[in-house]
């Protein structure tokens, strides 16, 4: 998949030819089954406060998600999210001055249920003092095989405007994303999901503030004007029952492989254990491992000037470990006025990043840092 000169998304002919037999087989199976109806998402509201502190960066702010059905076939949602950033990251302290910034994101969406299909459309708009982003997303989910299989197709188009404060610099990014997902009920306590997402970007993909190093001297970074990436993921959830209750705990495991035409390859592995403690408390423990190789045009310190040069630690070779816990307390578990249920949630994740080829120029040692990620939120179902 690639962005053509005209900006449209193209899929190669061999790919389509290879897909045909599998598509026909899937359609053949589809005809022989009777599907049950999918359902609209729950009516719920979440009010969240988030806090991130790590590597000299603090990000905090509120977030809200409201979803309400309108009749039997339509559900609408609204989302608001704020990042208040105070940054003295290693990039900033070694090349510039600490700064503060605020990012606001608004989103609205509508879900329409038609037979066994759920169609979703949403728009998201994000604004900060030097970056604007608008995204349109379309998604279709379809239940097959008596509701045991759910197919999901998604497309989104994003348009970003990159600016630099105190200058007239302005440039664009166009982003196209295509996703395909399938979730499959394998038994009464086992669910499997597989997914694919291809993303194509074109435009100004560098950071206008960051510099590359050449023999210790600084020069503005220069990235390619396009980036195509592909990611596949596999995830599963297994439930466990007890004598007292039909489901007591579950284990979720997921793996993602990622590659792009910048030369980055990554593996992500995650596991989570969830367990009820009585009727009102739900605990979760989770672990995530992430590893990636560097982009081909990344160097900690170039020995000569190249066409493309980056010294962004997100494009370097590194790995991270994340360990987290979440507690959910259902303080309202029966109908009260218009409410069905309410919960109070707190989560804490600790992430440790270790960079193999990104040097802390203050010490000359490979850079690493730990970050705390906290969330406190209240959820209400109605």
């Amino acid at each position: 998949m690639a962005v053509t000169d005209s900006g449209s998304l193209s899929i190669s002919e061999p790919a389509v030819a290879t897909l045909w037999p599998a598509l026909l087989a899937a359609l053949g199976m589809l005809i022989s089954y009777t599907a049950t109806a999918v359902v609209l998402p729950d009516d719920r509201t979440d009010l969240l406060y988030h806090y991130y502190d790590g590597g000299g960066v603090t990000v905090r702010g509120p977030a809200m998600l409201v979803r309400k059905s309108a009749g039997d076939n339509v559900s609408v949602s609204g989302r608001y999210y704020v990042d208040t950033v105070s940054s003295a990251s290693i990039d900033v302290v070694t090349t510039a001055s600490p700064y503060k910034d605020k990012r606001e994101e608004f989103g609205v969406g509508v879900d329409y249920l038609h037979g066994n299909s759920l169609m979703q459309a949403s728009v998201t708009s994000s604004k900060e003092n030097d970056y604007l982003a608008d995204t349109l997303s379309l998604n279709v989910s379809h239940d097959l095989f008596g509701g045991l299989t759910s197919l999901n197709l998604g497309f989104s188009q994003g348009q970003d405007v990159v600016q630099r404060v105190d200058t007239s610099f302005e440039s664009d990014i166009n982003r196209y994303s295509f996703s395909l997902g399938v979730s499959q009920v394998l038994s009464k306590s086992l669910l499997l999901g597989v997914g694919y997402e291809g993303i194509a970007e074109e435009g100004y993909l560098s950071n206008p503030y960051r510099s590359a190093r050449i023999l210790g001297a600084s020069l503005p970074e220069q990235y390619p004007g396009t980036r195509d990436s592909q990611a596949v993921s596999v995830r599963a959830v297994k439930g466990f029952s007890s004598d007292q209750r039909p489901i007591l705990s579950s284990v979720r495991a997921e793996y993602r492989y990622f590659r792009d035409n910048w030369g980055i390859r990554s593996n992500t592995l995650g596991v989570a254990l969830q367990r009820y403690f009585g009727n009102r408390v739900l605990g979760e423990a989770r672990y995530r491992y992430y590893q990636q190789s560097a982009a081909t045009f990344y160097s900690d310190n170039f020995t000569s000037e190249m066409t493309y040069m980056a010294r962004d630690k997100e494009l370097s070779t590194f790995h991270s470990h994340s360990l987290g816990a979440k507690v959910t307390w259902y303080f309202l578990d029966r109908k009260y006025l218009f409410l069905d249920r309410m919960s109070l949630n707190f989560s804490h994740d600790y992430v440790n990043f270790d960079y193999q080829d990104f040097t802390d120029v203050r010490t000359g040692e490979p850079y690493s840092f730990g970050a705390n990620v906290l969330q406190l939120y209240i959820s209400a179902w109605y």
Binding site: M1, S12, A15, L19, A22, A25, M29, Y33, D46, L48, H50, E105, G107, T124, E128, D134, T135, N139, L148, G158, Q159, S177, S179, S183, Q184, V185, K188, S189, L191, L192, V194, G195, Y196, G198, I199, L205, S229, Q230, A231, S233, R235, V237, G239, P246, S249, S250, F258, W262, S266, T268, L282, Q292, E314, L315, D349, F353, V373, Q375, Y377, S379
Partner: protein
């Protein structure tokens, strides 16, 4: 390409698995529980994915969907 290899395998596997999975409607009580969901709290999961996405080179194929984030 990963696209040409993965998707046909995916579709064939799903059609085969769908034929094997004989779970009746009344046997799906466990599956309806929030802890059997890939993402039981969408807003919280979107936030956590955002935290990772802005600090990693990889993106996509997660359980959540987000907008442009000024990640570069």
């Amino acid at each position: 390409m990963i696209w040409t290899r993965f998707v046909p395998i995916l579709l064939c596997a799903v059609t085969l698995l769908a034929g094997c999975a004989g779970v009746k409607s009344y046997e799906r009580e466990m599956l309806a529980d929030p802890i059997m969901s890939f993402s039981r709290d969408p807003l919280s999961d979107q936030y956590l994915e955002h935290v990772y996405e802005v600090r990693e080179g990889a993106r996509g194929a997660t359980t959540t969907q987000g907008g442009g984030c000024g990640c570069n």
